[in-house]
């Protein structure tokens, strides 16, 4: 698994491809402390006003804050709005 990932990275570097595509990484865009857009996700694991956990390949993204809402939920991305305190990546071992 790890070696495949390494190969992909090497290939991406050689061909100068964006790494989020070659490595299947989520693209997280943070707009101040008001909005977080997570693209290339794998679904919503947990949704509470204080925390939204989004699944991604090989781990998950946890957005913490207050009064969090899911402004848009689609296959292309999840938009989270509210008062964002932290964005944390958790990798599966």
């Amino acid at each position: 698994m790890k070696s495949r990932r390494r190969w992909r990275r090497r290939l991406g570097e050689i061909l100068d491809l964006p790494q989020d595509i070659t490595l299947d990484l989520p693209r997280v865009t943070v707009l101040g402390d008001l909005q977080v857009l997570v693209e290339n996700h794998r679904g919503v694991i947990r949704y509470a006003p204080e925390e939204v956990v989004i699944a991604m390949s090989g781990g998950r993204v946890a957005v913490r804050g207050r009064d969090l809402g899911l402004t848009v939920i689609s296959s292309s991305g999840v938009t989270i709005t509210g008062l964002v305190d932290a964005v944390r990546f958790e990798r599966f071992p």
């Binding site: 679904g43 919503v44 694991i45 947990r46 949704y47 509470a48 006003p49 969090l68 809402g69 899911l70 402004t71 848009v72 939920i73 689609s74 296959s75 292309s76 991305g77 938009t79």
Partner: protein
């Protein structure tokens, strides 16, 4: 992204849904896997409230069963639902539409005719002419011929020299310019007349615009004397010197009374002229002004009277002879000015002190004034001049 989603959803219709269950997130993921967009998700007590396209709801129910959730529709929103609700209220919609149509159609008719600038033309006559030209309430606008009306009105109404018509919505405004009459002084100048002397005067200036002058400046003219003979009209400016005199007396000691503000009221009941009841004591003032108010007419045998005593104090003023003379001169001058016609100008003044005693100054003021002395006197039929060629007495002039 989200605004495009919302915009599109408004036209296709969307639902506000409450998803309840143990793990509503599972429902979200299943919806995502089916490509159903969701938006405005908010965690509420008992589940997640969110919005979704109306057409996706049927498939969502299957997903809900699989995720062990239950979706509840809270509201139906968007254009299809608005139209459906409106169709349910079809009669109301029709009434609104018909009202709008009615109002629109009514805008094609004239409902008001406003006239500006009408003073002399009679209203009824004008209305009649306007109605005849098709300018009246109830006329459809396509039948109006404002151009023709503006040309016709001055021809039909001799008092009107110009008419302008324009339409503003459902109102037709008619602007009129009426024929102006000649000013009074020009009208008078067109009547046969002579110009005679209004009073005894030394003629200083005679400007004849029309007519035959019978006198020359510098001579003394007597009241009623014809100055300009009308041929048959007369128009002239005749200015002459006229003398006025008056006598005034000014006391050198004067007393001005004024109220101190102290007052006393006495109320009494009268039978005939005798007071049988009296309230209040007579005033302690040395001098007073008394006001009596009776609460019954004088012929009534029983009367209630209110006597108001207001204290008065006199203030003595004494004038110096020079001051008294000045005051007397002013008084005399204002008396004389009242006797002079408008436009008169005082040229010279002469003051003569007639008597000068310690208590009184008497003076005579003579004033020489320059004023218009010409008076237009109309000629009667068959007469040669205003007074038949003879100089009349003072009485004759008054009539002219």
């Amino acid at each position: 992204m989200s605004s495009a989603l919302r915009f599109g959803a408004f036209f296709t219709g969307y639902l506000e849904v409450l998803v309840t269950g143990e793990r509503p997130e599972r429902f979200l993921n299943l919806a995502l896997s089916r490509g159903i967009p969701l938006w405005d998700g908010v965690r509420v007590e008992g589940g997640i409230r969110l919005k979704m396209p109306a057409r996706s709801f049927r498939s969502c129910r299957l997903l809900a069963r699989r995720s062990r959730c239950r979706p509840y529709i809270l509201a139906r929103r968007g254009l299809p639902f608005i139209l459906r609700r409106m169709m349910l209220r079809f009669p109301l919609l029709m009434v609104a539409l018909l009202s709008a149509l009615f109002l629109h159609l009514m805008g094609y008719f004239v409902w008001f005719v406003e006239v500006k600038g009408r003073e002399k033309v009679s209203e009824s006559k004008l209305k009649e002419v306007l109605a005849d030209l098709g300018i009246r309430p109830g006329m459809p606008v396509w039948q109006l011929d404002l151009e023709r009306a503006s040309q016709e009105i001055p021809l039909r109404l001799p008092e009107v020299v110009w008419a302008g018509l324009y339409r503003r919505g459902t109102k037709v405004v008619v602007e009129l310019a009426e024929r102006e009459e000649l000013p009074a002084h020009l009208r008078v100048a067109r009547e046969p007349a002579d110009i005679v002397a209004a009073k005894d005067a030394l003629l200083e200036q005679l400007l004849v615009f029309q007519g035959q002058p019978l006198v020359v400046p510098g001579i003394f003219v007597r009241r009623g004397q014809v100055l300009v003979r009308g041929t048959p009209y007369a128009r002239a400016v005749a200015r002459g010197r006229v003398w006025y005199g008056t006598y005034v007396e000014v006391p050198t000691r004067e007393e001005i009374l004024y109220f101190t503000g102290r007052e006393t009221l006495v109320r009494r009941l009268l039978v005939g002229e005798k007071a049988i009841l009296s309230f209040g004591s007579p005033p302690p003032f040395r001098r007073y002004h008394l006001e009596v108010r009776s609460l019954a007419p004088a012929w009534c045998p029983l009367r209630w009277e209110i006597l108001l005593y207001r204290e008065v104090v006199g203030l003595q003023f004494s004038l110096k002879p020079a001051e008294a003379l000045e005051r007397g001169t002013q008084r005399a001058r204002s008396l004389l000015l009242r006797r002079m016609p408008p436009g008169a100008r005082i040229v010279r003044e002469e003051r003569r002190v007639v008597q000068l005693t310690p208590r009184l100054v008497g003076l005579r003021l003579l004033v020489e004034a320059e004023e218009e002395v010409g008076l237009r006197v109309g000629k009667r039929e068959g007469e040669k001049g205003a007074f038949g060629g003879q100089r009349p007495g003072p009485g004759a002039l008054r009539g002219g």
